[in-house]
């Protein structure tokens, strides 16, 4: 018997209600009450999500051994013409349910955590309203039944992210960062939108299920049409991927993510680590059937971008000193991993290992990266600084944070038995089967990851013992609860047999540890940790010497390869200064000038001909006679034509 999943519609709806209530009346309620409302609602959402996951995965999501795609609700929202409409609905399949679980879990933790972290902040209720808005939008995104619904919520998460990054709106850097985040992702969404439009023009549908129909003739037609050297379908999918790359901070659209760390730390954990930034991965996974079956070229693009970004970001992360920025680059790097995994995957069965791997890594990453950020938040809360140069020896003051942070660092470094090890292992084995270049890139990144994570860890918790102005103290219970919960999750979720639940063709299959890959990756991770320990565990380690040895590279990495500067140059110098400003000038002086010019000419002419009316009687007579004769001649000529 099929379970009726239609109740799932309430998950986003209650969140929306919570946003509206807290947003509209928040200033009238007591701040903590607002927070409580939001928290209760998100916990309710989490419970519903877990129940859904339980029902789907363990009770009756399968039919004939294949996971079913269930449309639990679908309402027509805006009809374009008879066959094309935007719908709003709930689509349930393994990845959407997995995302539901991830989003509601992390979001709940962040809600709870923020009770402590944001305590006493001005705009506490505003913060919770925005959190609710974000959760609503993110859930709307993951349960989208069609591309356009996804786009709609895609934009909404963008704006929630904008609002939350700019939460401290009196701080100019936060304002700038929020603007940057919004505009860069907006630019990426432009590609997404054009991709959707292109796709829908041919297929006459936005619906995921219809798009994924294996015998969709329109898709085949699109794949056959060629435009500028690639098929139209590839073009559309690359454009859609552009949207995903923007949201997921893939090179070269990544510049907003490090700046986004200006937002409150719980926000960074929720939005810029665990959930929103993986939306791009989710998007590609959602359309994986199209990518894998009809447009392998587009998938190659995904793989290449993912691999490059993971390496690139990892290199930058080596030298950053702001702990949140280190984590931000690490996030980029890990998402690059997921993209790489998707890119190297193919459709169906064990061919689709990369797909499973990417989703698995998404899942584990959400846990440990969320934890890392929350831990970083606890540290910042204690030290009142983001700079790791201001920290050291904190293990004594912050025991819980220390332990949970260590767990997370081990997980991300891929040390067994923590969760990251398992997901990373299948990613690498999928890459290994696809192309050695991807594998070795991934492998190198694993080493770098371990290094910079432990650089961070050692600098914060070990290193030199400092005197702090305020004695750092452990976070309040609400914060440590979240840390502990996520710590446990990070440690154990790796044991979930993911391929049983998530696969590219919805059919469960078995995966095994790829022993060679596992050994190689663990070895490189351990090397990274050891190097980090040598350099940073003791005060006055070898770090400075290394920096001196390769000053150029160090500088390049420290300045993030000057990508920001290039963007700044293009936007401010070129677009603003050399396009927008001349346009403003042109408009005022040339276009407007020509309109005013007409008036000017009229006046001028009026002035020039004033001599006609000289006041001289005889001139009047002359003009009359001349006019008469002229008219007569004209008419005679005219009549004789």
């Amino acid at each position: 018997m099929q379970t009726n999943f239609s109740y799932t519609i309430w998950i986003p709806l209650v969140l929306l209600a919570s946003f509206l209530v807290v947003g509209l009346f928040g200033d009238k309620l007591r701040p903590r009450l607002s927070g409580l409302i939001s928290t209760v609602v998100i916990l309710f959402g989490a419970v519903l999500s877990y129940w859904t996951a339980f029902q789907y995965f363990l009770v009756n999501g399968k039919a004939d051994g294949v996971y079913q795609t269930i449309v639990a609700a679908d309402y027509e929202w805006l009809r374009f013409y008879d066959t094309l409409a935007i719908k709003m609905g709930v689509l349930l399949d393994p990845i959407s349910i997995m995302m539901l679980v991830v989003v509601t879990t992390i979001s709940s933790m962040v809600h709870i955590y923020s009770f402590g972290y944001m305590k006493g902040e001005k705009g506490f209720e505003r913060f919770y309203a925005f959190l609710s808005l974000f959760s609503f939008s993110m859930i709307g995104l993951v349960i989208a039944t069609n591309l356009f619904q996804m786009y709609i919520f895609w934009e909404l998460v963008g704006v929630s992210s904008f609002l939350l990054i700019g939460f401290y709106y009196e701080k100019p850097s936060a304002v700038a960062a929020s603007k940057k985040a919004f505009i860069v992702t907006r630019f990426a969404d432009f590609g997404f939108l054009v991709g959707i439009l292109l796709l829908s023009y041919f297929t006459k549908t936005f619906d995921f299920q219809e798009l994924m129909q294996p015998d969709n003739a329109a898709i085949a037609e699109m794949a056959g049409l060629s435009f500028m050297g690639m098929s139209v379908l590839t073009l559309a999918l690359v454009l859609i991927f552009m949207g995903g790359a923007g949201k997921s901070a893939m090179f070269p659209l990544h510049i907003w993510l490090p700046d986004a760390m200006e937002g409150p730390t719980p926000v960074s954990a929720l939005i810029h680590a665990a959930t929103m930034v993986v939306a791009g991965v989710y998007l590609v996974a959602r359309l994986f059937g199209l990518y894998a079956l009809h447009a392998p070229d587009a998938l190659s693009v995904v793989a290449a971008v993912g691999a490059f970004t993971s390496l690139f970001a990892a290199v930058i992360a080596l030298t950053q000193t702001d702990i949140k920025r280190v984590l931000a680059f690490s996030t980029m790097s890990q998402i690059g991993y997921m993209m790489l995994a998707l890119g190297v995957s193919r459709y169906g069965g064990t061919e689709g290992l990369g797909y499973t791997a990417s989703m698995f890594h998404l899942f584990t990453h959400a846990m440990f990266k969320g934890l890392l950020f929350l831990g970083a938040g606890a540290i910042i809360h204690a030290v009142h600084s983001n700079e790791m140069t201001d920290m050291g020896g904190l293990r004594k003051y912050l025991p819980i944070t220390h332990v949970t942070f260590l767990i997370a660092a081990l997980a991300i470094s891929g040390i067994p038995p923590f969760s990251g090890f398992f997901s990373k292992d299948i990613i690498l084995s999928a890459a290994y089967e696809h192309h050695p270049v991807y594998f070795w890139t991934g492998w190198a990144v694993a080493g770098l990851t371990a290094f910079y994570m432990f650089r961070l860890y050692f600098s914060i918790f070990w290193g030199e013992n400092r005197e702090y102005e305020h004695k750092p103290h452990e976070a309040p219970f609400s914060m440590s609860f979240a840390l502990i919960f996520l710590g446990i999750m990070s440690a154990v979720v790796g044991f979930i047999p993911f391929s049983k639940y998530v696969s590219s063709d919805l059919m469960p299959y078995e995966t095994h540890l790829h022993m060679n890959v596992a050994v190689l990756s663990v070895v490189v991770a351990v090397i990274g940790i050891v190097v980090a320990a040598v350099m940073y565990m003791k005060p006055g380690g070898a770090a400075d010497k290394v920096v001196k040895a390769v000053p150029g590279l160090y500088k390049l990495s420290l300045h993030k390869f000057y990508i920001d500067e290039i963007y700044l140059f293009v936007t401010h110098k070129i677009i603003f200064n050399y396009i927008s400003r001349p346009i403003a000038w042109f408009d005022r002086n040339v276009v407007d000038g020509s309109m005013n010019g007409m008036a000017w000419v009229t006046n001028k002419v009026s002035n020039k001909i004033k001599g006609l009316q000289s006041g001289q009687l005889q001139q009047y007579a002359f003009v009359m006679i001349a006019g008469m004769v002229g008219l007569a001649l004209f008419v005679l000529y005219w009549a004789s034509r």
Partner: protein, 473 residues
């Protein structure tokens, strides 16, 4: 002659009677009774104008030299209404001390010109036409020079009388050629003998030129501005609406009847005149400061628009011409009425002087604004309908380019009308014109104008009535 013959000429005869009564009354009047006499004269004229609306009889007398048709009666009524409003508006000016002894002259001269215009419109041959024309012209010279103490008034008079003489010379020369080529002065006989030969074409052009002087079409307009500026304001008002209106009526009637066969000759003439008149009139109006001169150029430009209706040569076209003149009478008299009132009270005549006019005289400035909007052709006032119909008439015959030029010209005209509106409503002034309390009759005159401006457009039977009596080529 039977009584019915008199009935045909009822209009003129009544007017002559009015003139005679007034002449006699003046003999017995004293200085004290001057005011009462003016009231009496105005009342008489009002009665006369009212009689004009009674159904009259059609027909021809004097062997066809004089005739009356419903169309002609409509035209005369339009003129009568115009004259009545002018008379009402002039009372304040006439009662000023310097005009005390001569006030009635104004009435007599005005009535004489009106009589001339009536004969001109009713004429059935060129002799009658010429007599009417001269009767309508010569007293105007005297009216223009009415303010004997002002050089400008005298200058207006001399310019008008000499140029009018020149133009009637031209006109007569044209008539003489027509006579020479057709052998008759009767319209009906001329009509059958016009064949577009060279002399007749030249004659047509001369004839149109002569009448164009009266309508002040470019390039025969040059006297207009000087005369309007120099004359007393109410005389300028009279010139601009009644005199011009009568000439338009005559021109349109004659072009549509006598010169029917010459249509290929006169259409290009009118085409060129229309473009020249609209454009030149507007370009000059742009830079005027003196409101009387300003309105002179504006009336020149308006005349150009009227030609658009003529050019179509259709019954509808003629109706639009007459209708537009009717609308124009009210609009222009509204504007002139305000200008005259202000000038008589304060002597101020420049646009600058009107800065802040709204603050002190809200009602007068509203009247002025409505009148100017009507002249500019802005809805919902009557001028919009008048212009639209004129343009429709021209467009109906395919003269789209002409219409385009005309509508672009309306934009220029809108600009300068708005300058006045701006002065009155937007500009602020240290010492605006003080609050003016016009006399009752002048206010009645303004009210009539405003009612005309507001209602004629919306009340479509007016147009239907005009159209019913019109005819085409």
């Amino acid at each position: 002659m039977e009584l019915s013959t008199f009935m045909i000429m009822r209009n003129e005869l009544t007017l002559i009677a009015v003139v005679l009564v007034l002449l006699i009354a003046e003999i017995f009047s004293t200085k004290k009774s001057q005011g009462a006499l003016l009231n009496f004269a105005t009342l008489l004229f009002a009665i006369y104008a009212a009689i004009g609306f009674l159904p009259g009889s059609e027909g021809e007398i004097f062997g066809g030299m004089y005739r009356s048709t419903p169309l002609i009666m409509v035209m005369k009524n339009v003129l009568n209404v115009g004259v009545l409003v002018v008379l009402l508006q002039s009372q304040g000016w006439l009662r000023k001390p310097e005009n005390e002894n001569r006030a009635l002259e104004f009435f007599l001269l005005t009535f004489s010109t009106l009589l001339g215009m009536d004969y001109m419109i009713s004429s059935g041959d060129f002799l009658m036409f010429y007599l009417g024309l001269e009767l309508a012209t010569l007293p105007i010279a005297a009216l223009a020079a009415y303010d004997v103490y002002r050089l400008k008034s005298t200058e207006a008079g001399i310019k008008f009388v000499l140029l009018a003489a020149l133009s009637s010379g031209i006109l007569l020369y044209g008539i003489s050629l027509i006579y020479g080529t057709t052998g008759s002065l009767y319209y009906d006989e001329v009509l059958g003998n016009l064949h577009m030969n060279v002399l007749q074409i030249v004659a047509t052009v001369f004839f149109i030129s002569g009448v164009a002087f009266k309508i002040s079409l470019v390039p025969f307009h040059l006297w207009t501005a000087d005369v309007y500026e120099g004359s007393p304001t109410n005389v300028a008002a009279y010139l601009s609406v009644v005199s011009k209106g009568a000439s338009v009526f005559v021109l349109v009637t004659l072009l549509f009847t006598v010169f029917k066969e010459m249509v290929l000759a006169w259409q290009p003439v009118i085409y060129v005149l229309a473009i020249l008149t609209m454009t030149i009139g507007n370009l000059f109006a742009l830079r005027q400061q003196n409101l009387q001169r300003f309105l002179a150029f504006s009336s020149i430009a308006q005349a150009g628009f009227i030609l658009l209706g003529m050019i179509s040569g259709t019954q509808y076209g003629m109706a639009t011409v007459i209708y537009f003149v009717l609308v124009y009478v009210f609009s222009n008299l509204g504007a002139f009425g305000v200008v005259a009132m202000v000038k008589n009270a304060t002597g101020k005549i420049n646009i600058d002087d009107y800065d802040g006019f709204y603050q002190t005289n809200p009602r007068l400035s509203l009247v002025m604004m409505l009148a100017l909007f009507s002249l500019a052709g802005i809805p919902p006032v009557a001028g919009f309908f008048g212009k639209f119909f004129l343009f429709a008439a021209a467009a109906g015959e395919g003269h789209y380019w002409l219409v385009l030029i005309a509508v672009l010209n309306t934009i220029i005209s809108l600009y300068y009308y708005l300058l006045v509106v701006k002065a009155m409503f937007i500009n602020r002034s240290e010492n605006p014109i003080q609050a003016i309390k016009g006399d009752g009759l002048a206010r009645i005159g303004l009210v009539i104008s405003v009612l005309g401006i507001l209602l004629i457009g919306f009340y479509s039977p007016v147009f239907d009535w005009v159209q019913a009596v019109s005819f085409g080529l």
